[in-house]
C-alpha cells in the first residue's frame, strides 16, 4: 500500500466509520454556506428588485420647455436616453371654459393610454364610451356624469368621458383628452414630457444628467420627493439586509467553528494512536486538515446550491421575480468555508501536540 493509498483509506475510513460525526460537521458547514450564499445573492440583486417597486409612483422626471415646444426629435432623444423600460408621455395644457357655468378648467392633451399606464395609482371608474379622462373634482363640481361643453376660444367641443379618475393631486381638477383631438381643438403642441426613468437611484441620476446635456433648452427636473424616497428606502433596506446577514453569517460561522474545534479535540485518542505508531506532527495535522477540507468542500457545495435555491425562492415569493444564482459567489463561498474549516480543525491540534501521546492514551 502506497502512502497516498493509505492517506485516502484513512480519510475515507474516518468519515465512514463515524458517519454521524462526519454528518454533523457536513451539516454545520452546509448551513453556513447556505445562509451566506442566500444572503449575498439577495443582497447583490436587492437594489434592482426594490427599485422596480417604485415604478408605480409614476413620473420621476419632468421635462418642460418654458417657451417653445418639445419637438418629435427631442422626444425621440428622451426615449433613447431612458431606454426600453421607461415611459415618456408628452403633455400639452390649455384652459377651457365650460359654456353653461363659465367655470375655467385646465385641459391636458396626452396619449390617454400611456398616461394611465404611467399613473397606475389613479383609481379609474370606467363610465362612458367617450375618450376623455375626467378628474374627480371636475366631475363632482361641473360634469356630474354628463357630457361637458367646452369652449377653447375659437373652437368648442362636446367632451364625452371614458372614465372619471381620482388622484388626490392637481390632476383631479383637470380633463385629459387624446393628444390629436387636443391639438386640433387648440393648436397647442406639447411643451412638457412626463418621464419615468426606471432603474437604481444612481442610474436615474445618470439619466437625468444625460437628459440635461441632450436638451439644454429644456428644464429637466427630478420629482425629488420620489427619487429621494427611493434612494432612502433602497439604501436603508440594503444596509439592513447587509447588517443582519453579516450578523447571522459571522455568528453562525463561530457556531460552526466551535462544533468543529470540539469534535477535533474529542479525537485526541486517534491523534495519540497515530503519534504512537510513529506519525509526525505534520502528517497528523495534514490528515486532520485534509479531512476537514474535504468535508467543508462537500458541505459548502451543497450549501451553495441550497442557498441559491432559497434566494431564488425568496425572489419569487416576495418580488414576483426570481433572484438568479450568482456564479461569482461560488468560489468565495467554497474557499471561505474550506479556510474556516482548516482554521477551526488545525488550531486545536496545536494544543494536543503539547501533550505526550502516552498521556492521552492513559486518559490524562
Amino acid at each position: 500500500m502506497t502512502r497516498s493509498q493509505l492517506l485516502l483509506r484513512l480519510l475515507f475510513k474516518a468519515a465512514w466509520v463515524r458517519k454521524d460525526r462526519a454528518l454533523t460537521a457536513l451539516i454545520s458547514v452546509a448551513v453556513v454556506a447556505t445562509i451566506a450564499t442566500a444572503a449575498l445573492t439577495i443582497y447583490s440583486d436587492l437594489e434592482g428588485k426594490l427599485s422596480r417597486e417604485f415604478r408605480g409612483f409614476g413620473a420621476n422626471v419632468l421635462v418642460t420647455r418654458a417657451s417653445g415646444i418639445l419637438s418629435a426629435d427631442q422626444l425621440a432623444g428622451i426615449r433613447k436616453i431612458i431606454g426600453g423600460n421607461g415611459e415618456v408621455v408628452p403633455v400639452a395644457y390649455a384652459i377651457a371654459t365650460e359654456t353653461a357655468s363659465g367655470a375655467r378648467i385646465v385641459v391636458g392633451g396626452a396619449d390617454v393610454i400611456k398616461l394611465r399606464r404611467l399613473n397606475t395609482s389613479w383609481s379609474l371608474s370606467e363610465s362612458g364610451p367617450g375618450n376623455a379622462l375626467i378628474g374627480s373634482r371636475v366631475d363632482e363640481t361641473i360634469a356630474h356624469g354628463t357630457d361637458l361643453h367646452l369652449s377653447f376660444g375659437k373652437a368648442s367641443a362636446v367632451i364625452k368621458a371614458a372614465g372619471v379618475f381620482h388622484s388626490g393631486s392637481d390632476d383631479d381638477s383637470r380633463i385629459y383628452l387624446p393628444l390629436d383631438d387636443f391639438v386640433s381643438l387648440t393648436g397647442v403642441q406639447p411643451n412638457t414630457a412626463l418621464v419615468r426613468v426606471e432603474g437604481r437611484p444612481q442610474e436615474i441620476q445618470a439619466a437625468i444628467s444625460s437628459l440635461r446635456t441632450a436638451l439644454p433648452e429644456a428644464d429637466v427636473q427630478p420629482v425629488r420627493q420620489i427619487t429621494q424616497a427611493q434612494t432612502a428606502v433602497v439604501g436603508k433596506t440594503r444596509s439592513v439586509v447587509l447588517a443582519s446577514s453579516a450578523v447571522v453569517v459571522v455568528l453562525i460561522m463561530l457556531c460552526m467553528a466551535a462544533t468543529f474545534t470540539s469534535s477535533v479535540l474529542e479525537r485526541r485518542r486517534d491523534f495519540a494512536v497515530m503519534k504512537a505508531l510513529g506519525a509526525s506532527n505534520r502528517t497528523v495535522s495534514f490528515l486532520f486538515a485534509s479531512e476537514s477540507a474535504l468535508l467543508a468542500l462537500a458541505g459548502s457545495a451543497v450549501g451553495y446550491v441550497l442557498g441559491s435555491g432559497i434566494a431564488f425562492w425568496i425572489g419569487k415569493a416576495n418580488f414576483d421575480a426570481a433572484i438568479l444564482p450568482q456564479p461569482a459567489l461560488l468560489l468565495p463561498v467554497l474557499l471561505g468555508s474550506v479556510i474556516l474549516a482548516l482554521i477551526a480543525s488545525t488550531a486545536p491540534l496545536r494544543l494536543l501536540q503539547q501533550i505526550q501521546p502516552a498521556g492521552i492514551l492513559r486518559g490524562e
Binding site: I42, E53, G56, G168, R224, Q225, V247
Partner: protein, 428 residues
C-alpha cells in the same frame, strides 16, 4: 444522585459545556436580533417613506376647480372657499391622531413682487414651517419642514410669526428659479402689496414652489387680508397598506365590522375621521403616495420576514448540530452508565436536563447579545433604536430548549443503541 451527576458533569466537562453554551448563545442571538429587526423593519421603513411627503389632502368641499398649469396658479385669490385655520388642530384629536405625523396648511395667490431688479409676477404661498402647537397637554410642531422633507433651503428657514412683526420685515423664502431669474439673494428685501419682506433663504423643492415666494402662513393671511383662511392642508400620516376591507364604504358597515374598519389606521379611515371633525371638507388620499408606499413597505417587510425565517432555520440547525456533536462524543459515558445498570430513561433524562440548563443559560446570553446587536443595527442605519419586546425572550428561551432537545435527542438515542461493552472497548 441525579443532581450530583448533573452537577459533576458541568464541573468536570467545562470545555465541552462551554462549547455547547457558546453555540446555543450564538444561535439564539441570531434569532433575537433577526426577530427584532424583522418585526421592527416595517415601522422603520414606514417612517422613511414619510419622506414621500403627505398622503392625505384636505380641501374645502365648496371649492372651485384649481386652475393651475406648470405651477402657475390662475385662480383668483378671492374665488372659492376656505378652511378656518384654528379648526385644523382638531386633526390631532381624531382616533388615529397619534399616527398623524404632521400637517401643513397652504394659502396662496398670485402677487406682483417688487424686487431690486424690477417687478415680477409670482405665486405667494403661505404655510407653516415648524409651527409650535399644542393639543391638550401635547406640545408638538408641524409644518413643511417635517411634512415635505425634500425641501432644501440655502440660508435660514423663516420663523412662524404669530402676527406681523413690529421692528423688522418678516422673513420669507424665495424659490430657486424665481431667485435666479429676478436676481434675488439671501438678505435682500422684496415688497408685496406695499409690505416689506426679507428673503432669509432660497428654497429648492424641485416643484412649483421653486417659482414662488414661500412665507409664513400668518404673514400671507395679512398680505391677502384673509385672516384665519387656509385653502388646502396636506397631512402626513402613518397608515396601514390598503386592502379590500379598507376600500369598503363605512356607511354600509354596521356594528363590530364598522368598528374594526374605524379602528384600523387605513388612509380611508383616517380621512373619514378628519371629515368627522372638520365640517365641509373633502379629504382625498394622495394616491401616488398612498397606493405605492404600501407596496414598497410590504416588499421590504416580506423580504425581512423571509430572511428572518431562513436565519432562524439556519440557527436552529447549527445549534442542533453542535448539540449532537457534543453528545455523540460522549458515548463512552453512556456505555459506562448503562453497564453500571442505568436504564435508558435515566440516561436520557440526565442528558436532556443538562441540555435544558444549557439551553436556558445560552438562550438568556443570546437574547442579551442579540438585543444589543439589534439596537446597534437600528442606531447605525435608522438613527433610532430597535427595541426588543420582552415576549421575544420567552420565544427565544422556548426555541432554545426545543432546538437543543431536538439536537440532543437524536444523538442520545443513537448513543444508547450501542451495546455498552462494545462502546467501552472502543470498537463502535
Amino acid at each position: 444522585m441525579f443532581l450530583r451527576l448533573l452537577f459533576e458533569s458541568f464541573r468536570r466537562q467545562k470545555r465541552r459545556k462551554s462549547v455547547a453554551l457558546l453555540a446555543i448563545a450564538l444561535g439564539m442571538s441570531i434569532a433575537t436580533a433577526m426577530i427584532a429587526v424583522g418585526t421592527d423593519i416595517g415601522d422603520k421603513i414606514n417612517q422613511e417613506l414619510r419622506s414621500l411627503g403627505a398622503n392625505l389632502v384636505i380641501t374645502p368641499i365648496e371649492d372651485t376647480l384649481d386652475v393651475n398649469i406648470g405651477g402657475v396658479n390662475l385662480k383668483p385669490a378671492s374665488e372659492g372657499s376656505f378652511i378656518p385655520e384654528q379648526e385644523l388642530i382638531k386633526i390631532k384629536g381624531i382616533f388615529w391622531g397619534h399616527n398623524v405625523k404632521g400637517y401643513a396648511p397652504f394659502l396662496s395667490a398670485p402677487q406682483v413682487i417688487k424686487t431690486a431688479s424690477g417687478d415680477v409676477k409670482a405665486e405667494l404661498i403661505g404655510t407653516y414651517f415648524a409651527q409650535p402647537l399644542h393639543y391638550g397637554n401635547e406640545e408638538f410642531s408641524t409644518g413643511v419642514r417635517s411634512v415635505n422633507p425634500w425641501w432644501k433651503v440655502e440660508g435660514e428657514w423663516p420663523q412662524d410669526y404669530a402676527a406681523w412683526p413690529q421692528n423688522q420685515p418678516p422673513d420669507v423664502l424665495a424659490g430657486s428659479k424665481l431667485a435666479q431669474e429676478s436676481h434675488i439673494s439671501v438678505g435682500d428685501q422684496i415688497e408685496i402689496g406695499g409690505r416689506k419682506l426679507r428673503v432669509s433663504g432660497i428654497l429648492n423643492s424641485g416643484g412649483a414652489e421653486d417659482q414662488a415666494v414661500v412665507a409664513p402662513l400668518h404673514i400671507v393671511q395679512t398680505v391677502l387680508d384673509q385672516p384665519n383662511a387656509v385653502r388646502r392642508v396636506t397631512v402626513s400620516a402613518l397608515t396601514k397598506p390598503e386592502d379590500a376591507f379598507a376600500r369598503k364604504d363605512p356607511e354600509t358597515l354596521t356594528g363590530a365590522i364598522r368598528d374594526r374598519w374605524y379602528c384600523s389606521p387605513y388612509a380611508n379611515s383616517i380621512a373619514y375621521q378628519i371629515r368627522e371633525v372638520l365640517p365641509n371638507v373633502r379629504v382625498e388620499q394622495i394616491r401616488q403616495v398612498e397606493q405605492n408606499q404600501g407596496k414598497v413597505l410590504s416588499r421590504v417587510s416580506g423580504l425581512m420576514l423571509l430572511l428572518t425565517l431562513a436565519a432562524l432555520l439556519a440557527a436552529a440547525l447549527a445549534v442542533s448540530a453542535a448539540m449532537a456533536a457534543t453528545i455523540l462524543e460522549r458515548r463512552q459515558e453512556v456505555g459506562l452508565m448503562k453497564s453500571l445498570g442505568a436504564g435508558n430513561t435515566a440516561v436520557a433524562s440526565l442528558f436532556l436536563t443538562e441540555a435544558g440548563f444549557l439551553a436556558l443559560a445560552g438562550g438568556l446570553i443570546g437574547f442579551l447579545a442579540g438585543a444589543a446587536l439589534a439596537h446597534r443595527i437600528g442606531q447605525s442605519i435608522f438613527g433610532s433604536s430597535i427595541e426588543v419586546h420582552p415576549v421575544v425572550l420567552a420565544v427565544v428561551l422556548c426555541a432554545a430548549v426545543l432546538v437543543t432537545f431536538i439536537g440532543s435527542a437524536g444523538a442520545v438515542r443513537k448513543a444508547m443503541r450501542f451495546d455498552p461493552a462494545v462502546v467501552l472497548r472502543g470498537d463502535a
